[in-house]
Each structure stands twice: as structure tokens, then as C-alpha cells.
């Protein structure tokens, strides 16, 4: 854990959007994109710069599902459980992914911070249901086996790079 948090990145993001309340969500989104989550240190800093109570910023950060106060994995897997995917069998895929990632009940991120598994409602690729999304890429017509293979491929890639 860093003792002294470096606010250079955060300040740059605030300057990009302008220090105003209406930019709160956009600022938080960019901070999250950089750190993969919202580090707790940023809240008092943001409060000072935007001139609003940190509670208000917390209230926004905790309201929207995309924000995370916990560190997220390098690969964020979004398993679509929209209507079309649900009807064509998204649950077996989700269960298989949980199994492959060895995620205990209630856990979303693996210990090694490599994977985070989330469900989303509809990625807008219903014609290809069921789909999953890993970071920004959508993978169509998934099966539990195909999803498991994606995970093992990513793991292999990480091991090679390591």
C-alpha cells in the first residue's frame, strides 16, 4: 500500500474535464480506467478540487454499477445475462467460468488480480447470444467449453509474458 498517493494522474484527468460537479462521473470513469478501480485516497482530493462534499462523490461512486472501490482484475470478464443470452443458456457459462476461476461465493476477482467476473444485462449483441465480453472485446455464441478455453488461453499468455 502506498503511503503517499501521487495525484498527478488524477489532477490531469480533472483538468481535462474541468473542475465542475457535472463532470464527476466522467472524471471517476477516467480514474477507474487508469487504476482499474477507485482508490480511496482520491475522494478527499476530488472533494477539494470540485468544491463539493466527499460524501456526494461517494454517493455517485457507490450508486453506479461500473464503479468499483475494490481493485479489479487485469481482465474484466462480463458475462451477458440479458434476455436473449439467458434464453440461449448464459447461466451454464457463468457457472463454468466461476469454476474455472475458482471464485468462492460472493467473490468477483481472483486472488492474483488477473480476472474479474461480472454479469451484465445486455451487451447489445443479442443476435449472437450467448456472448461474453473480456475488456472491450465481445466473444459471440459462447459455450461453457469455449469460455473455459478463453480463460486458459489468457492464462497461458500471461505465463509466457511473465
Amino acid at each position: 500500500m502506498q503511503t503517499q498517493f501521487d495525484f498527478t494522474v488524477v489532477d490531469r484527468i480533472i483538468d481535462d474535464h474541468g473542475a465542475k460537479q457535472s463532470a464527476t462521473i466522467a472524471i471517476l470513469q477516467d480514474i477507474q480506467e487508469h487504476y482499474h478501480y477507485l482508490p480511496r485516497e482520491i475522494f478527499t482530493h476530488l472533494a477539494k478540487r470540485l468544491g463539493m462534499p466527499s460524501a456526494s462523490i461517494y454517493s455517485v461512486a457507490t450508486f453506479y454499477e461500473n464503479f468499483s472501490l475494490e481493485p479489479k482484475g487485469k481482465y474484466v470478464i462480463k458475462c451477458c445475462d440479458g434476455t436473449a443470452c439467458h434464453v440461449r443458456g448464459s447461466m451454464p457459462i457463468l457457472n463454468r467460468l466461476r469454476e474455472e476461476l475458482k471464485l468462492a461465493e460472493g467473490k468477483k476477482t481472483t486472488e492474483d488480480l488477473l480476472f474479474t467476473l461480472d454479469t451484465v444485462h445486455c451487451l447489445g449483441a443479442c443476435g449472437l447470444a450467448p456472448v461474453i465480453m473480456i475488456n472491450e472485446n465481445v466473444y459471440p455464441t459462447m459455450t461453457p467449453d469455449a469460455a473455459a478455453k478463453l480463460i486458459s488461453d489468457l492464462r497461458e499468455k500471461e505465463n509466457e509474458n511473465a
Partner: protein
């Protein structure tokens, strides 16, 4: 930077000339669906191959293109998402499906250079090969006007949009019509909001135009949160300029100078294409100060959602743009009076704005010739589920459900039996066989307890359990309830609990009545539209499939055989060899028996996990 109307007219002529001069076009679908199937790789391969062969490859619309070139374009959604990546070759008009990188060479050699058709890549059904898009029943039965450019022009190029007549409506609105004329044309056309409610757009605009405030806003709702819907996504990705044009016309009509587009975070491609489109329009001088010397200023902003379904509700959406929690508020005052930043605001959805340029160009009378009198125009639907052709469709309002499913959709997948279609997402309801002849328009659907909603249509066959579908939607709304008002926050939770126990085989006498009672309270007392309609999927399934609820509750049986907890797992004594493998694999010790004689499953202990089924080498364990 264009400074006058004449400059825009001149440049349009020029671009149109370049576009018609393009002899051969390779149109690669770059909608979310096809990209997921690998269309960008196909696009890159076409470019690489053309360069390698020394053929003139044109990516951008410009003067040099007047010579005989081959253009490669990334287009918006071409419709048949499941058959992606889709590639259309012009001028032949051949539509190729599931195109792989390895097919590109053959397509260039045979089709592009020699005009030959490749039957292997064409749409085939029942032994009939359909060469062109216009030969395929899926397209023949549609009326694509709002989506006319989707799949035909480069979605990332303002030049192509202008070449096919883009921004003529905006031009007309700036120089030939006064604000009142625009509002009147939209009112006369009877265009109704495509976001679900069907509120007359003209009335909304005139209410905002009337407000005295000097600051007004135009907001586009691109927070298409309904699971199973992707029409707006396809418009934003495939023809972003058309939607911008609609918003700019609205700005001119109502005296607003700022437009905000709120797009959900799950649509990164739409955000990218819109940002690109706005930058292009600014560069050309179609957005900014004193547009084309008319004295009219308009600026466009994009806001990315952060994953809250409730932000599709008007007042929650504006709160979110303001950087607050996306809570809906009590109305009145309505958004037209106190909307974004407390100023009068026009809030329409993507499809509504995309219809506006058409109406301004062709007039209200033309628009009213399409579809029924009380809901004119077309409607885009996202057709998904257990149906042969899934994808994006556009049909005139008032088309019957039967035509959509059996005509455009090509019937049920694998010839299975039609059971119901869920329409309108978590706020909608289901339509069954008795509704096949019903015209799809705002008023007819309302009468039978469903709604058009934004236009997601999920087709279900006899293997889909309707109680489970109701539970699915309730779990969705419960999860997405913003928590501000008690009826929705607590009511949906209680309804979900009841539905969960019914599908788990623990339903009790009186559960159906309890659901009805809760639904009644929620729809009467919830704060916003999403809360009020949250019980609709449950109410509509109870109305049409009450027998399925009763079978779950009283007989502990799922008629569709879909609920795992209500499955009966038993061992066929004829096939069982008594090897004991299943008994060893059972996590709860529910299987017992003597070696070499048939084993049995204790129904009381069995948790229906199905682990035993796959372990049996003799296929003696059956689920029903």
C-alpha cells in the same frame, strides 16, 4: 469549414460525384455483432490483399477516387447479425455471410474483379441460394427507411453521409423553415416517441419551444438498457450523423443551443462513432457558432453512462448528466419545464431523432402514408431468441406479430413450437399464439397488457418456462431498482422472493394472489415509470400462463421441463448395471443400492444437481 448554404450544396454535389464514381465497393459490416464475429479482421485483410495485388484501394471519399477504384468500407449493422461477418459487394449487390479472412482472396478474384457469384457464401435455405440482399425474405418483408443508410455507407464518414443527401433536412430547417414550421411539421406527422411511451414528439417540442427561458437543452437518450434490445445501438454505430441531424433540427425548432447524448457504458463502439461524427461535423462547420452563416449556434456533448438501468428514465438521466446519482424525481414539474440543469429540455430517444430528418425532408403527409394513422412510421425491432433469423429489423408500425415471426424472422428455430414473445423488456409483457394477428403499434399492444417499449423482441419456444422468464425479469428490475421509493425497492424484492420459491419447487397456495397484490401496489405507488411497470412481465405471464404457475406450485412440476429444481431424476432399472459409480459421485448421498443390482435415487435427499447423469456409462439415469 463551410460558411454558407451554397458551400454545403456544392460540396454535396462533389461528394455525390465521387461516390457514384466508385465502381466497386466492398461493404464490410462493422456493427457490434459482426465485429464480435471478426469483421474487422476481414476488413483489414481486404485492404491488405488489394494493396498486395496493386489494385487501387479506396478508403476515403476524395477526388482521386474518380478513377476506377475499389473501395472498402466499414458500414453499420446490415441486419442478419447471427450470420456475421456480413459483406456486401457492389455493384452486383451480392451479400456474403460468415465471411472468414481466408475467403477474402476468392471474393476479390471472383466477385470483385469478374462479377462471379460465390454460392458457398450466400444465404441458403431449403436448397435455394439467395444472391442479393433483396432476394432474401428477411429483407424483402422489411421497410428500411430509418435504417436506410445502415449497411450501405461508411459509418465513420461524414462525407458519405452528405453524399447521400445527409444534412439536407437541417439545411431546410435553417434556411427555409421557421422554428414554428418545424414544430408544426413534426406535430402533423404524428411522430410518437420510440423510447417506449409513444408520447407525441411534436407536442413535447412545442411545450419546450413555448418556454421563456433563454437556456434550453436537447437531450438524446441512448441509454438503451432493456436486455434484448440493440436498435439504438445500431443507429448510433451505423448512422450517427442522422441522429445528430435530428437533434440539431430539434435545437433549431425549440431555440436550444446545446445537445447532450447519454450513451450507456456497455456500448463503447457507439461512443467512439458518435465522438468521431461530432468531431467531423464541428470541423465542417455544421456544429458550432453561426452554422453556415445562419446565425444559429449548436454544440454537442457526449455523456457515458456508468451502468444504471434507471438512468433510462428521463429525470434520472438528466440527474446523471449533472453528475449526480441517477435518481428519478417526482413529476410534475416535467422535463419540458424543469429538465437538465433545471432548464426546459427536449428528451427523446435515438430512434425518434433519427426519424426527424426524414420527416423534414419528405413532409408530414409522406410520413403518415406509412403505418396506421394513430402510430405512423416504422419501428425498428431487435429480433432475438429461439427464432431462425435473429437481428435488427425495421417494419411499418402495425405489422402483425405473425408477419414479423414467420415472415421476416423465418419462423421458429429448428421448427420448434412458438410459445410466446416477450416484448418491451422489463417494462413489457408477453404475447402468445392468440396475439399473432395483432398489429404491432402503441395502442394495440397497450390493450393486451404489453408495450412496444424500445423494441426488444425475444421469441420463446415450448422449452422456455414462463415462470422462470418472469423470475428473470423480476431479478433484473430488483437488481436495478435505484432504491429511492419503497414500493419498488421493497415490493420487487418480495415479488422476487415469491417467484424464486415457486421455481425452486417451494411455491405455496396463495402465491399467485400475493404476486398480484404486490404488483398492484407497486404499479400504483412507485415513483417512476420503470417502477410502475416493473410488475408487468409477471402480470402478463400470470394472465396468459396461469396454468404453468399452478403446475409449479401445486404439482411441483415444470411443464416446459426447464426448471432444474423441479426436474425428476430417476434410474432406469432396465439399463442400470449396478456399478455404484453414480452413488460415489452424488454430493448428498442420495443414491444407494446393491452392487450388480439396480440403484435408486432418494427423491427427498436429491438436490437435482444432475452430477450423476453424466457419470453413468450406460445412460441409465434420466431427467424429466
Amino acid at each position: 469549414m463551410l460558411k454558407s448554404r451554397q458551400e454545403l450544396i456544392d460540396i454535396r454535389k462533389e461528394y455525390a460525384k465521387y461516390l457514384t464514381a466508385q465502381q466497386h465497393k466492398i461493404l464490410v459490416c462493422a456493427g457490434t455483432g459482426c465485429i464480435a464475429s471478426g469483421s474487422l479482421k476481414v476488413y483489414a485483410e481486404f485492404k491488405r490483399l488489394l494493396e498486395q495485388k496493386g489494385l487501387p484501394c479506396l478508403v476515403e471519399l476524395k477526388k482521386e477516387n474518380e478513377e476506377n477504384g475499389i473501395s472498402v468500407k466499414k458500414t453499420g449493422c446490415q441486419g442478419l447479425c447471427e450470420m456475421g461477418p456480413l459483406v456486401t459487394i457492389e455493384p452486383e449487390g451480392f451479400l456474403y455471410m460468415k465471411v472468414q479472412v481466408s475467403d477474402c482472396e476468392e471474393i476479390i478474384e471472383k466477385t470483385v474483379l469478374n462479377g462471379e457469384h460465390i454460392a458457398r457464401l450466400a444465404f441458403q435455405k431449403g436448397g435455394i441460394v439467395r444472391k442479393k440482399q433483396s432476394d432474401i425474405p428477411y429483407y424483402q418483408k422489411q421497410t428500411r427507411i430509418m435504417l436506410e443508410h445502415c449497411g450501405h455507407i461508411d459509418a465513420t464518414s461524414i462525407k458519405e453521409y452528405i453524399a447521400v443527401g445527409g444534412y439536407t433536412a437541417f439545411e431546410k430547417a435553417l434556411f427555409e423553415m421557421g422554428p414554428d414550421d418545424i414544430v408544426k411539421t413534426i406535430s402533423d406527422s404524428n411522430l410518437r416517441g420510440r423510447g417506449g411511451g409513444g408520447f407525441p414528439t411534436g407536442r413535447k417540442w412545442s411545450q419546450v419551444a413555448r418556454q421563456k427561458s433563454p437556456i434550453k437543452y436537447i437531450v438524446c437518450n441512448g441509454d438503451e438498457g432493456d436486455p434484448g434490445a440493440f436498435m439504438d445501438c445500431s443507429v448510433m454505430e451505423g448512422d450517427p450523423h442522422r441522429m445528430l441531424e435530428g437533434m440539431m433540427i430539434a435545437g433549431r425548432a425549440c431555440g436550444a443551443h446545446d445537445g447532450y447524448i447519454y450513451v450507456r457504458a456497455e456500448y463503447p463502439m457507439a461512443v467512439e462513432r458518435l465522438k468521431n461524427a461530432i468531431a467531423q461535423a464541428e470541423e465542417m462547420g455544421l456544429l458550432g457558432e453561426n452554422i453556415l452563416g445562419s446565425g444559429f449556434d449548436f454544440h454537442m456533448h457526449i455523456n457515458k453512462g456508468a451502468g444504471a438501468f434507471v438512468c433510462g428514465e428521463g429525470s434520472a438521466l438528466t440527474a446523471s448528466i449533472e453528475g449526480k446519482r441517477g435518481f428519478p424525481r417526482v413529476k410534475p414539474p416535467r422535463t419540458v419545464e424543469h429538465g437538465l440543469f433545471n432548464e426546459p429540455t427536449v428528451l427523446n430517444n435515438v430512434e425518434t431523432f433519427a426519424n426527424v430528418p426524414l420527416i423534414i425532408t419528405n413532409g408530414a403527409d409522406w410520413y403518415k402514408t406509412i403505418g396506421p394513422e394513430n402510430s405512423p412510421g416504422t419501428k425498428a425491432f431487435a429480433l432475438t431468441g429461439n427464432i431462425e433469423n435473429t437481428g435488427l429489423i425495421e417494419v411499418p408500425m402495425g405489422t402483425t406479430l405473425e408477419e414479423v415471426i414467420y415472415g421476416v424472422g423465418g419462423g421458429m428455430r429448428g421448427g420448434s413450437e412458438f410459445k410466446a414473445v416477450q416484448i418491451g423488456g422489463p417494462s413489457g409483457g408477453c404475447l402468445t399464439t392468440e396475439h399473432l394477428k395483432i398489429p404491432l403499434d402503441f395502442d394495440s399492444l397497450k390493450k393486451v397488457g404489453a408495450m412496444i417499449g424500445s423494441g426488444g423482441m425475444v421469441v420463446m419456444d415450448s422449452k422456455t418456462c414462463m415462470v422462470e422468464v418472469a423470475r428473470f425479469f423480476m431479478s433484473f428490475t430488483q437488481n436495478e431498482s435505484c432504491g429511492k421509493c419503497v414500493p419498488c425497492r421493497e415490493g420487487t424484492k418480495r415479488m422476487l422472493e415469491v417467484l424464486e420459491r415457486i421455481v425452486a419447487g417451494k411455491g405455496q397456495d396463495g402465491d399467485i394472489e400475493l404476486l398480484e397484490d404486490l404488483a398492484d401496489t407497486i404499479s400504483a405507488a412507485a415513483l417512476c415509470g420503470l417502477g410502475k411497470t416493473a410488475p408487468s412481465p409477471v402480470m402478463s405471464t400470470i394472465k396468459y400462463f396461469r396454468d404453468e404457475y399452478e403446475a409449479h406450485i401445486y404439482d411441483k412440476r415444470c411443464p416446459a421441463g426447464a426448471c432444474p429444481r423441479l426436474k425428476r431424476i430417476h434410474i432406469d432399472p432396465e439399463l442400470c448395471r449396478g456399478c455404484s459409480r453414480c452413488a460415489k459421485g452424488c454430493p448428498v448421498g442420495a443414491i444407494s443400492g446393491q452392487i450388480k443390482s439396480p440403484f435408486v435415487i432418494d427423491e427427498k435427499k436429491c438436490i437435482k444437481c444432475g452430477a450423476c447423469v453424466s457419470t453413468c456409462a450406460f445412460h441409465a439415469i434420466k431427467e424429466d
